[in-house]
């Protein structure tokens, strides 16, 4: 049976197992029908021209993970940013792990989607925000159909989350092939502030496919910083669908650090609904072998005096491949928009490749929009300069790649996270780095 049919026929059993009477039952039922109509995306679609899911979808994934043995914190400690105090929302094979988590309901809610969906207390939040910006689109609809578990983060107005929140999804390999579909909802009230670090980590060599959907709402003057660490093992693939709706004078940044995994697709969409909004989208990709990372971004400017900043940098080694597809839409009403986009790539080997495509649709006349894309090798003159100072060729290359990625890291507001990302890049480049940037 094809995966599509298998998933559709699993749907009833899934809903029975979770909560048939949930308020979202109707939304799920509609979504599975939408998925049935649309199916999985193919390379025939413009947005998927350079990313084929064929290989990833050939596995016989199950959506019903067996109950897992509990993980020992010490075994997975290294996957957390543990040198700072954080809230933790942790899932193992898609199931909440209470002993690895540290949730809260005190000033803010950092807890579970499954409980929020079934609680009268959170009904207004679910009614107002759940599945409101996630569009009818094949993979997103598939996630919606199976939406049940994930992080639920609700920050009331005038509240600063007292510590960052880590959302970590582990998979253990209890199943030979597992499809997990986390569904996260983040609602940040007026004048409120939150920092979130998200990670998907497979602890097995079995194939794992994660099809994640995250909806983020930033109310007036809210500040949301979202960091995605994509450093999964080589048999894990990730399709990340993130949708951000921003209101007046809010600031929202999403940093995506893509180092691991087999195939990674990031669908990142920002919708601006208000004036003087700032949207920041940044990414660092360092991959090798046959890895593939695809960034598909959209910034939708609908009102005047807003800004967006996109800065994606990538280093491709071996026969790794990348895609950057960045779309900026400026509506007629969105005068005085400042929209910037830059995508810089370094190809270290002849077989590595990148397809970079900016798409600008501008209907307003008084705007500043810029986009730039570079694809190159490391600068030979810079390499000679460093070597002439006594830095060996390998370290010189590493230093240049660091330098290349560094201005993306500059805007990371959690120093411990920045240090961690630096370290991952060092490991990735296979050098012991004698310098701190």
């Amino acid at each position: 049976m094809e995966l599509k049919e298998k998933l559709i026929s699993s749907f009833l059993a899934f809903e029975e197992q979770v909560d048939m009477n949930s308020d979202v039952h109707e939304i799920r039922s509609r979504a599975i029908k939408d998925f049935e109509t649309m199916g999985f995306p193919t390379k025939k679609q413009e947005a998927w021209k350079y990313t084929s899911l064929n290989k990833v979808l050939k596995h016989d994934y199950t959506v019903f993970p067996k109950k897992h043995d509990s993980l020992d914190y010490r075994d997975v400690e290294k996957y957390f940013i543990d040198d700072i105090d954080t809230y933790k929302i942790v899932f193992v094979d898609g199931i909440y792990s209470s002993h690895l988590s540290s949730t809260t309901h005190e000033k803010i809610d950092a807890c579970l989607m499954s409980s929020a969906m079934n609680s009268s207390k959170y009904k207004p939040v679910i009614d107002n925000y759940f599945n409101k910006i996630a569009p009818k689109e094949s993979l997103t609809s598939l996630n919606t159909a199976f939406s049940h578990e994930g992080a639920f983060i609700n920050i009331p107005r005038n509240t600063m989350a007292d510590k960052p929140i880590q959302v970590v999804n582990f998979s253990t390999g209890n199943e030979s092939a597992l499809l997990v579909q986390p569904r996260n909802l983040i609602v940040v009230g007026e004048n409120s502030h939150v920092q979130i670090i998200e990670r998907h980590q497979s602890l097995t060599d079995h194939p794992v496919l994660t099809n994640s959907v995250t909806e983020i709402f930033a109310d007036k003057r809210a500040i949301v910083d979202y960091y995605k660490i994509q450093n999964d093992n080589i048999n894990a693939s990730l399709i990340d669908n993130t949708f951000v709706e921003q209101h007046h004078e809010s600031y929202c940044s999403v940093h995506t650090f893509s180092f691991g995994g087999n195939l990674t697709r990031n669908n990142l969409n920002f919708y601006q609904k208000g004036e003087r909004i700032d949207s920041t989208l940044k990414g660092v990709t360092v991959i090798e072998g046959k890895q593939h990372v695809d960034h598909n971004t959209l910034v939708h400017h609908a009102e005047p005096n807003c800004e967006s900043h996109q800065d994606y940098k990538a280093v491709f080694a071996g026969s790794s491949t990348g895609v950057f597809n960045g779309k900026i839409v400026v509506e007629k009403e969105a005068q005085k928009t400042n929209a910037f986009q830059s995508n810089n790539n370094i190809l270290l080997d002849d077989k590595a490749s990148i397809n970079s495509k900016p798409q600008l649709e501008i209907f307003a006349d008084d705007v500043k929009c810029s986009h730039g894309c570079t694809i190159g090798q490391l600068d030979e003159d810079a390499l000679f300069y460093l070597r002439s100072r006594g830095i060996p060729a390998k370290e010189a290359r590493a230093l240049l790649m660091y330098a290349f990625a560094n201005n993306v890291l500059e805007s990371v507001k959690i120093p411990e996270l920045k240090k961690r990302i630096n370290k991952i890049i060092a490991v990735k480049l296979g050098v012991s780095v004698g310098f701190n940037l």
Partner: protein, 251 residues
């Protein structure tokens, strides 16, 4: 210290150096002057080990070893330093962090441990004062947005940090106003010791008013065609290069 014998080099099939002979002893300052395109900068890049240049004949002997068998970084470890005519901008690496990487790379090559942080800071402070460098400058990205003067000052600052045996200053005076020139030259002079040597590559005599050479060479079309004392530099400034060209063609 450095002995260049019958050095020929080409780049992309084009012969640039056509038989250079040059000997520099410890404690000496040599200047190579010559018009644009005479091969001065090529010579400095070839000594420093730039791979684009192919050495077709000859050798570069430093303290008994032929340098041509070594990579650029190994030559640096042996005490060669090139102050670039156009220092490369490296956004994302601060001057301090760059210096730390450079010093520790050179120490590692000598089998030494990394320099302790406090010692490093002390050294950086001491050497930056020598070049009249502002503390704020040290936390800026290497050469990014630096003025011409700042770039050259930063080159000499690196030279001061590394204390090379042979420093090659490639057109260090280009793009400098008179104050910056004085600071840079002053720095170079302070670093002069009986056991090190300096090779100044320049188009104009101006820099040689501040860094007084022991020997002046004139380079034309890939060869050293005339060698003399510091007065040769003054003569070139007054009369240009044409008389030398005529002298050479008469031979």
């Amino acid at each position: 210290m450095l002995k260049i014998k019958n050095l020929h080099a080409k780049v992309e099939g084009l012969k640039i150096l056509k038989g250079i002979d040059l000997e520099i002893n410890p404690g000496e300052v040599h200047a190579i002057m010559g018009p644009n395109g005479s091969g001065k900068s090529t010579l400095s890049s070839v000594i420093a080990g730039k791979e684009e240049y192919e050495i077709t004949r000859g050798e570069i002997i430093m303290e008994g070893e032929d340098l041509t068998q070594f990579d650029a970084e190994e030559r640096a470890h042996k005490g060669i330093f090139l102050s670039f005519q156009y220092p490369v901008e490296i956004p994302g690496v601060s001057v301090t962090n760059f210096m730390r990487a450079v010093i520790n790379a050179n120490r590692k090559a000598k089998g030494m441990e990394d320099m302790p942080a406090n010692e490093m800071l002390k050294l950086i402070r001491e050497k930056s004062e020598l070049l009249d460098i502002d503390r704020k400058f040290l936390s800026r990205s290497l050469n990014e947005g630096f003025s011409g003067g700042e770039k050259k000052r930063n080159e000499i600052f690196q030279m001061a940090m590394l204390e090379p045996k042979l420093a090659i200053l490639d057109e260090t005076d280009s793009g400098l106003d008179i104050d910056a020139l004085r600071i840079v030259a002053n720095g170079v002079n302070k670093l002069k010791r009986p056991d090190n040597a300096t090779l100044v590559i320049t188009h104009y005599q101006r820099l040689l008013d501040y860094i007084i050479p022991d020997v002046v060479h004139v380079m034309l079309d890939g060869r050293i065609v005339k060698t003399g004392g510091k007065e040769l530099a003054h003569e070139l400034e007054a009369r240009g290069y044409d008389w030398i060209k005529e002298e050479v063609s008469a031979q």
